[in-house]
Every structure is written in structure tokens, then in C-alpha cells.
């Protein structure tokens, strides 16, 4: 029976005007977007390899330690998945705002946009009159007059609606994939297929959520026009307003001190205040030293001190003790103030992390944010990949330091007086930074959180739709 209802729903929608428009839109939009993104990707690959070649050439010509540090910075290669999902990896280097200012100024289209914005809206447009429309036409009464359980009708409507939207989307995706696969420069591999499949699975849940939401709203309204009005208001709220406001909301709810103020305070602590503390400690130390070495009591000029030290071993010892202990005093002052500054910095980091976390949690009320996190984390284009990249580059940094230590040690062994900073070295054995994408299983595991929230939201909305439909008055 359920199958009959689903078939009826699909057949009903397929001939409708809205279906044709959405299908046509998808058929044009998805391949065009993928085409543009693929071109972008290929261009980035070329740039990346030429930059890499440039660095290698440079290393052959001028491999001095004074240049190396600046030249061999790790940079992430473009990933094939960016032919579908722009994500935020491309902006890791945002501080410098270097490569390409245009995307910063204009948000651009990609697969996540098509699913998250367009398909959600289309799902509501497909389902806003699922119940209210039948009520208006009077067919709901007729349908329920048959011996048909209400929950089957509901399930049929929601699943039918999801399929009506998902299948045309899949068709358009096939066209998009053809665009990718015929391009020999895109290295589309097994893990990419896996990630894509999972993203599409998430998309199905996402569409299901909005179909269920549409049916829920529809069964609470008597007229379709009121139903679509409510649907669109909720859409604006869930898809556009909540995700965008969540960072601001988080910064109000969990304030973090301004970075610039903390930096100023840190520099005050480690500069002016350190000097004051150092002078005070030194004065105390001097009083103490004078008690122990009365020789130091009378101030004399440096030249005199030098001659006196040469003659008088006791004085020499006293001066050495003074130098040693005053140095210890300054080290102590540096340590104390450094600790204070470290506390401030750690506090700032902690508060900023808490704020980001809160923003993420608040935004997860919105299914759009959940889906976006799911899709970008799976395709290595999200926040998780930024952390992964940082991890890899930290590890490389350690290896590089180890390498430069052993290299300079070898140089000094050969010639103790060598100016290793400015000597040309052979760096063919230097560890090169190699970016390795995180394994799909690990990405999947980390993205499960947002997916779980999306599933819970979908089940919740479905339950609400169920109860609302059971109690609806079909007349």
C-alpha cells in the first residue's frame, strides 16, 4: 500500500510546473557549477605545482640556513573534492588575504550551496500543500474514507516528496560527475567516491527534514497560502538567520577579551613591568651582595673595576658573583612576568575556543549548519581539515628542526669555525612537507556529531508531523 501512495505522490509531482522548473534549474546549475569549480581546481593544481617547482629551483641555487626557514613553509595542495565543495580550506591563509580576494567578497556557488539552500527551499515548495492542498480540494476526506491508516499516507507523502526531489538531484549530479571524470587533470579516487556517497546520504536526510517540516506545517494550516507563508518564514529562520547570527550570539553570550588588548597587556607585562620588577629585585640583591662582599660597596667606573679585578682575586670573585647573581635576578624577573603573560594568553585562547564551540553548538539548531559541517568535514574542506593541516605542519616543523640541527652539527664537525648561517648546504635530503588527506574513516567519525543532530532533528520533526496529521480534521 505504502508503495502505491509513494508512486501516486511521485506521479502527481512529476507533471507539476514546480517540478519541471526545479528539475530544469538543477540540470543547468549543477553541471555549470561543477564545471566552474573543476576549472578552478585545475588552475590551482597548476599554480601549486609551479610554486613547488619554484621552491625546489630556489633550494638548488641558494640553500642557506638564513633563507631556508622562509622558503620551505608548508602549504596545503588543492584537493579533488574542491571540484564539488568549495568549503573553507581555501581560506586557511585568510590572515594575509592573499591568493584570491574575490571569493571573500562574494560567496560563491558550490554543491553545498545547491543542496543546503536550493533543495531545502524546493522541498518546502513541494510539500507545503501536501495536506492543506488535499484538504482544500476535498480529496483528503475521500482518501481517509478508504481503509487506509493515516500514518501510511503521511509516510507515503514524505518519502514520495523526498524521492521526487532527490532523484532529479541525482540525475543532475551524474551530469556534474561526468564533467569531473572527463577532465583528465582531476584525480578522482576511491576515497572521493566514498565521501561523495556519504555527502549525498546526508543530503537525503536533509531533504527529508524539510519535506517533513513542510508536511507538518501543511497539516497545521487550513489554507495552502498560509501554509507556504509559514514554511518560508521558517526556512528564512532556519537556513539564513540562525547560522549567520550564531557567531554573534556566541560572542555576546560567552565574551572573549579583545585580542588586541591582550597583546598590549602582554607587551606591557613583559616590558615596562618586567623592567620595574627587575630593577627592584636587583636593588635587593645588591644590598645582599654588599653585605657579603663589602668590596662592592663603593661604586667605581668599569675601567677601574677591570684593573682592580686583575690585581685583586677577592674583588674578581665578588664581581663574578655579582654578574652571575644579577643575571639570575633578570632571569627570574623574565620568568615571573612571562608566566603572568602566559596566563593571559592561555585565558584568551581558552575563551576564544569556548566561544567558537558555543557558536558551533548554537548553529547546530539549524539543519543547514549540520549538513554543512557534515559535508565539509567529509570532503576535507572544513574546519576539521584546518586542524589536521596544522597538525601535519607542526609535525613537519619538528622534523625540519631536527634536520637543521643535525645538518649544522655536521657542518660544525667538519669546520668548527664555520658560519653555518650563511653557508650553502645540500638540502636534497631535507624532509619535504607532504600533505596527506585524513583517512575517510576518521573524517566520517568526526562528522558523525552533526549528522546525529540532523537525524535527531529529522526524527523529531517527523514525529511532530505524525501527531499533527493524526489529529488533523480532514473536513
Amino acid at each position: 500500500m505504502l508503495r502505491t501512495i509513494i508512486r501516486k505522490e511521485i506521479q502527481n509531482s512529476v507533471v507539476s510546473f514546480r517540478f519541471i522548473v526545479v528539475f530544469a534549474l538543477l540540470l543547468i546549475l549543477v553541471p555549470v557549477t561543477v564545471f566552474i569549480l573543476t576549472n578552478d581546481y585545475v588552475k590551482k593544481v597548476e599554480e601549486f605545482s609551479s610554486r613547488r617547482q619554484g621552491i625546489e629551483d630556489y633550494l638548488k641555487a641558494y640553500a642557506h640556513f638564513n633563507r631556508l626557514g622562509g622558503v620551505v613553509q608548508p602549504s596545503p595542495p588543492p584537493l579533488p573534492a574542491t571540484a564539488l565543495v568549495r568549503g573553507i580550506s581555501s581560506d586557511i591563509n585568510l590572515e594575509d588575504f592573499e591568493d584570491d580576494p574575490l571569493p571573500v567578497m562574494f560567496p560563491l556557488l558550490d554543491l553545498v550551496f545547491v543542496i543546503a539552500i536550493l533543495l531545502s527551499l524546493a522541498a518546502l515548495i513541494f510539500s507545503y500543500d501536501a495536506v492543506s492542498g488535499e484538504k482544500e480540494d476535498g480529496t483528503l476526506k475521500l482518501m481517509l474514507a478508504n481503509s487506509l491508516p493515516r500514518h501510511q499516507i503521511l509516510l507515503g507523502k514524505i518519502f514520495g516528496g523526498t524521492l521526487t526531489l532527490f532523484i532529479p538531484f541525482l540525475v543532475s549530479m551524474v551530469l556534474g560527475l561526468i564533467v569531473i571524470l572527463v577532465n583528465p587533470r582531476v584525480d578522482w579516487m576511491g576515497a572521493n567516491w566514498g565521501a561523495l556517497g556519504l555527502v549525498l546520504g546526508g543530503a537525503a536526510v536533509y531533504i527529508f527534514f524539510f519535506e517533513a517540516l513542510g508536511v507538518l506545517i501543511s497539516s497545521r494550516h487550513h489554507s495552502s497560502s498560509a501554509s507556504i507563508m509559514t514554511s518560508l518564514c521558517l526556512w528564512v529562520l532556519l537556513v539564513l538567520v540562525i547560522p549567520n547570527l550564531s557567531p554573534y550570539l556566541a560572542s555576546l553570550l560567552s565574551p572573549a577579551p579583545s585580542r588586541i588588548k591582550v597583546n598590549r597587556e602582554v607587551s606591557r607585562l613583559t616590558d615596562v613591568e618586567r623592567d620595574n620588577l627587575g630593577r627592584q629585585l636587583r636593588a635587593e640583591k645588591m644590598r645582599d651582595l654588599v653585605k657579603r662582599y663589602p668590596l662592592l660597596a663603593s661604586p667605581i667606573s668599569e675601567a677601574e673595576a677591570k684593573t682592580k679585578a686583575e690585581k685583586d682575586p677577592a674583588f674578581r670573585e665578588a664581581v663574578a658573583a655579582r654578574t652571575r647573581e644579577i643575571q639570575a635576578v633578570w632571569d627570574e624577573a623574565n620568568r615571573i612576568q612571562g608566566e603572568k603573560a602566559e596566563v593571559l594568553r592561555a585565558e584568551l585562547d581558552r575563551k576564544e575556543a569556548a566561544q567558537t564551540r558555543l557558536a558551533r553548538i548554537v548553529s547546530m539548531i539549524s539543519p543547514l549548519a549540520d549538513f554543512t559541517y557534515w559535508a565539509t568535514d567529509l570532503t576535507s574542506t572544513g574546519l576539521r581539515n584546518i586542524a589536521h593541516f596544522k597538525d601535519l605542519s607542526d609535525r613537519w616543523d619538528l622534523a625540519y628542526r631536527e634536520y637543521s640541527r643535525s645538518k649544522t652539527a655536521a657542518l660544525q664537525k667538519k669546520d668548527p669555525a664555520v658560519d653555518w648561517w650563511n653557508t650553502a648546504v645540500d638540502v636534497s635530503d631535507m624532509p619535504r612537507f607532504e600533505y596527506k588527506e585524513e583517512a575517510l574513516a576518521a573524517r566520517f567519525k568526526s562528522a558523525l556529531g552533526p549528522l546525529a543532530v540532523l537525524l535527531v532533528l529529522s526524527v523529531g520533526i517527523f514525529g511532530a508531523a505524525y501527531f499533527s496529521f493524526i489529529r488533523t480534521d480532514p473536513r
Binding site: F17, V21, V22, L25, L29, V32, T33, N39, E47, S50, G54, I88, D91, L94, E95, D96, F97, E98, D99, P101, L102, V104, M105, F106, P107, L108, L109, F113, A116, I117, L118, L121, I125, D129, S225, A226, I228, M229, T230, L232, C233, V236, V239, L240, V241, N244, L245, P247, Y248, L249, L252, S258, R259, I260, K261, R264, T356, A369, T372, L383
Partner: protein
């Protein structure tokens, strides 16, 4: 007669659920977004004040910060995204801003949605335009499907009176909602003690509201036209919603994509190669003077000055390359904007950003001011170092400011967009009128 029709229509609208829901949603989002943006502006203002303290002190590396714009409370535009910190040295005229204020906000926002920020401009562009669609889609089509259109026209009412009456009533409702939303937002701004609006700001807000009105009128005309053309209200609504998605959501994005793809800009490596080539003729002399000054201990005033002049020249040359790049970027963006000329949303955005001083124009104005400051005041200060060290030590870092745009200039600059919107509305009204005159009302 028209008066009666307008009155009846307005009363109908006021009673309708869609108007009431729409107004409440508009008001709530406008107020919440403005309140949050006000707090955000306050934080950024504080950051800016703290950051300015850094401007004092270092005489060689001068730090300049871009102030947050007060009207970004209503139209965030690109104000947050575009970076806010520039560091000037003899070796660099900055071509882009970096910054703590811009970058983090941008990171957060981009990770989430394709849309920009939620602010008054968003309320107009998305929510009020949707409301317009809902108010107008059944203006004619519903009367037709209910059969009341026949009845109304059976009376001695000229057809154009009926359409005009409906149009005026709808416009009054739309503009009334806009007025309420903007008044609420602006009032919320005015009660904040730290927000001081100058006379020109008030003028700019009025212009912004006027631009919003033009945008909404264009959407209203479009909706009325479709409503006249289509007989079934539900079909009219579907067509309008699809058109809305295309005009407001897809088309503006696609325009940028296409412009970016067909107008390639030089990459970073090409740029630095171009900069090197531009300085090539002076390279040998520069190396000689630098070695003499830095390594051979030649501290004569002539060598010092020449060294300084050559540094400045190198910056100048690479600045010219940057300027050229900027011009290409502008051309690319122009292309993107021109490709989107038929989307009322893009036209409205350009006008709103211009009035709120949160668009690219303001950013470019700031950057030009920065380059001028570098050439006149900053270089003057650095020159002292090689000519009169004592005076240099005594000198203060000269104050930075850049010429602000007059409201009239902004107004003139947005005339084309305004005209296109007016023209669009006019054409659509005329089409609706013509279609209604010829409409079969049975």
C-alpha cells in the same frame, strides 16, 4: 472611485494573516539583527580605539587601522570581511589590508552560509521581498478564480482604476511595512549612547530607505504582472517563488562565478615577477648603494638619501603593479556586477553598500588615502632620518585621515542602479496594465 478601492484593498490586507505574520517576522528579525549588530559594532569600535593606541610609538613601521563604519549596523556589507590593518614602511605601500578585526569575523561567517550577514539590508532583500510576493501574487488571480473579478467589473469601474487601486493599496502596505521596520531599526540605533549619527549619516539612512523602497516596488510590479497574467493563484505563487529564487539567490552568485572564470587575473607569482621586472633598471644601483650603506659603513648623507630614495622607488614601482592589478580586479567585479544587472537584489545591494559606506568603493577610497599618506606624510617623516636625525627623533607620526565621500557623491554614483530599478518597475507596471486591459475576466 480609486479612493474607495484603495481603502477596501488596504483593509483587506491589514486583516489578512499573511500580512500580520509577515510584519511580525520582519519586525522581529529586523530588531534582533540590529540589536546584535549594534553590540558587534560596539566591540569593533572598542577594538579600533585600542588598536589606534598602537599607531603611536613606532616611527618606522606605522600602523594604520580602518575604522568600523557606523552604518554597518544597518548594512554590514563588506565592512567586516575586508581586513582593517595596514602597516607602512619605506619598503611597502600596502595593497590590501590584513587584520584581526576582519579576518576572524569573516572566517566564522563563511563557514556557514552562502548568504552574507543578517542585517536591515537582509530584511529588505530577503524577507520583505518575499512578503511582497505573498501580498501581490493573488491580487488579480484570486479574484479571477473566485469569480469576484467579474462582479467588480460589472460595476461602472474603469479597469485601469481597479488595477491602479490595487497597485496603490499594495504599495502602501509594502512601504508601510518598510517604514515600520526601518523606524524600529533606526530607533534602536539612536538610543545607544555610543552611536553618534552625523547629519550626513541621517541623509544616508534616508537614501538607504529610499533604495529599499525602489527595490520592493520593483518586486511588487513583477508580482502584480504575474498575478494578472496567470489565472490560478497557486500557479502565480509558484512562478513568483521560482523567479524570486532565481533573481535573489542564484543569479547574483552565478554572475560572480562566470566573471571570475572568464576574466583571469595574474597569480601571486606573476605579480611578484612583474614587480621585479618593474624595478629591474634600478636593481644594480640599489644593490650597490645598499651594500655601501649597510655593509661597508658608508654613512655619508648622500648615500643615505640615495638608499632611502631607491627603497621608496621600489615601493612605488610595486605599488604601480598593485594598482594595475586593482584595476583589473575592479574590471572583473564590474563585469560580475554588469552580468547581474537584471537582478534587483544586486542593484539594491550595490546601492545599500554605497550609502552605508560598507562597499568596495569605501575600501578603495581608504586605500587611496593610505597611498597618498605614504607618499606625502610618511615619506616626509622618513626623509628626515637621513637628513636631520634630531628633527626625526623629535617628530611625531603625522596623523592619518582620508577624504570622506559626500552624500551627494554617493547619491550620484547610485543613479544608474536607481534608474534601472525605476525602469524595471515602470515596464512591469505597464505590462501588467496592458495585460489587465486585455484580460478575459470570465
Amino acid at each position: 472611485m480609486i479612493g474607495t478601492i484603495v481603502k477596501r484593498e488596504i483593509l483587506d490586507y491589514l486583516k489578512s494573516a499573511k500580512f500580520q505574520i509577515g510584519l511580525v517576522v520582519t519586525l522581529v528579525i529586523a530588531v534582533v539583527a540590529t540589536a546584535i549588530n549594534i553590540q558587534d559594532f560596539k566591540l569593533r569600535q572598542q577594538d579600533y580605539t585600542a588598536a589606534r593606541e598602537e599607531m603611536k610609538g613606532n616611527k618606522y613601521e606605522v600602523l594604520i587601522y580602518r575604522p568600523p563604519q557606523v552604518l554597518s549596523v544597518l548594512v554590514q556589507g563588506k565592512d567586516r570581511v575586508l581586513g582593517s590593518k595596514a602597516s607602512l614602511t619605506t619598503l611597502t605601500i600596502p595593497d590590501r589590508l590584513t587584520g584581526y578585526m576582519g579576518s576572524r569575523g569573516a572566517e566564522r561567517q563563511r563557514s556557514l552560509s552562502g548568504f552574507g550577514s543578517v542585517d536591515f539590508a537582509f530584511v529588505v532583500r530577503v524577507i520583505l521581498s518575499l512578503m511582497v510576493v505573498f501580498l501581490a501574487y493573488n491580487a488579480v488571480s484570486e479574484e479571477k478564480s473566485f469569480g469576484t473579478l467579474k462582479l467588480a467589473l460589472a460595476n461602472p469601474v474603469p479597469r485601469h482604476h481597479l488595477l491602479l487601486g490595487k497597485g496603490l493599496a499594495g504599495l502602501a502596505i509594502v512601504l508601510g511595512s518598510l517604514f515600520i521596520a526601518s523606524t524600529a531599526s533606526v530607533l534602536l540605533m539612536l538610543v545607544q549612547p555610543f552611536i553618534v549619527l552625523a547629519g550626513s549619516d541621517v541623509m544616508r539612512i534616508l537614501n538607504l530607505v529610499a533604495a529599499s523602497a525602489l527595490y520592493l516596488i520593483a518586486f511588487y510590479a513583477l508580482s502584480l504582472f504575474v498575478s494578472v497574467l496567470v489565472n490560478r493563484p497557486s500557479t502565480a505563487l509558484m512562478i513568483l517563488l521560482q523567479l524570486w529564487i532565481i533573481l535573489v539567490v542564484i543569479y547574483p552568485h552565478l554572475g560572480v562565478d562566470i566573471a571570475e572564470n572568464f576574466f583571469r587575473l595574474p597569480g601571486d607569482r606573476e605579480l611578484s615577477a612583474m614587480k621585479q621586472a618593474a624595478f629591474q633598471p634600478y636593481e644594480a644601483e640599489f644593490n650597490k648603494v645598499r651594500d655601501a650603506y649597510r655593509y661597508k659603513g658608508d654613512r655619508s648623507p648622500e648615500t643615505g638619501r640615495r638608499y632611502f630614495e631607491l627603497q621608496a622607488l621600489e615601493s612605488q614601482k610595486s605599488h604601480e603593479v598593485d594598482l594595475d592589478f586593482g584595476r583589473q580586479l575592479t574590471r572583473q567585479m564590474r563585469l560580475a556586477q554588469n552580468l547581474c544587472l537584471l537582478s534587483p537584489a544586486v542593484l539594491f545591494d550595490r546601492m545599500a553598500n554605497r550609502y552605508a559606506r560598507t562597499g568596495l568603493d569605501e575600501y578603495e577610497r581608504f586605500m587611496q588615502g593610505l597611498a597618498r599618506y605614504w607618499q606625502t606624510k610618511y615619506l616626509g617623516l622618513q626623509k628626515l632620518r637621513y637628513e636631520d636625525l634630531k628633527a626625526y627623533q623629535k617628530a611625531e607620526v603625522p596623523a592619518f585621515d582620508y577624504p570622506t565621500e559626500r552624500t551627494a557623491e554617493a547619491w550620484i554614483a547610485t543613479i544608474p542602479q536607481g534608474l534601472i530599478l525605476c525602469l524595471m518597475s515602470l515596464i512591469l507596471f505597464v505590462l501588467a496594465y496592458a495585460a489587465f486591459l486585455k484580460k478575459d475576466v470570465r
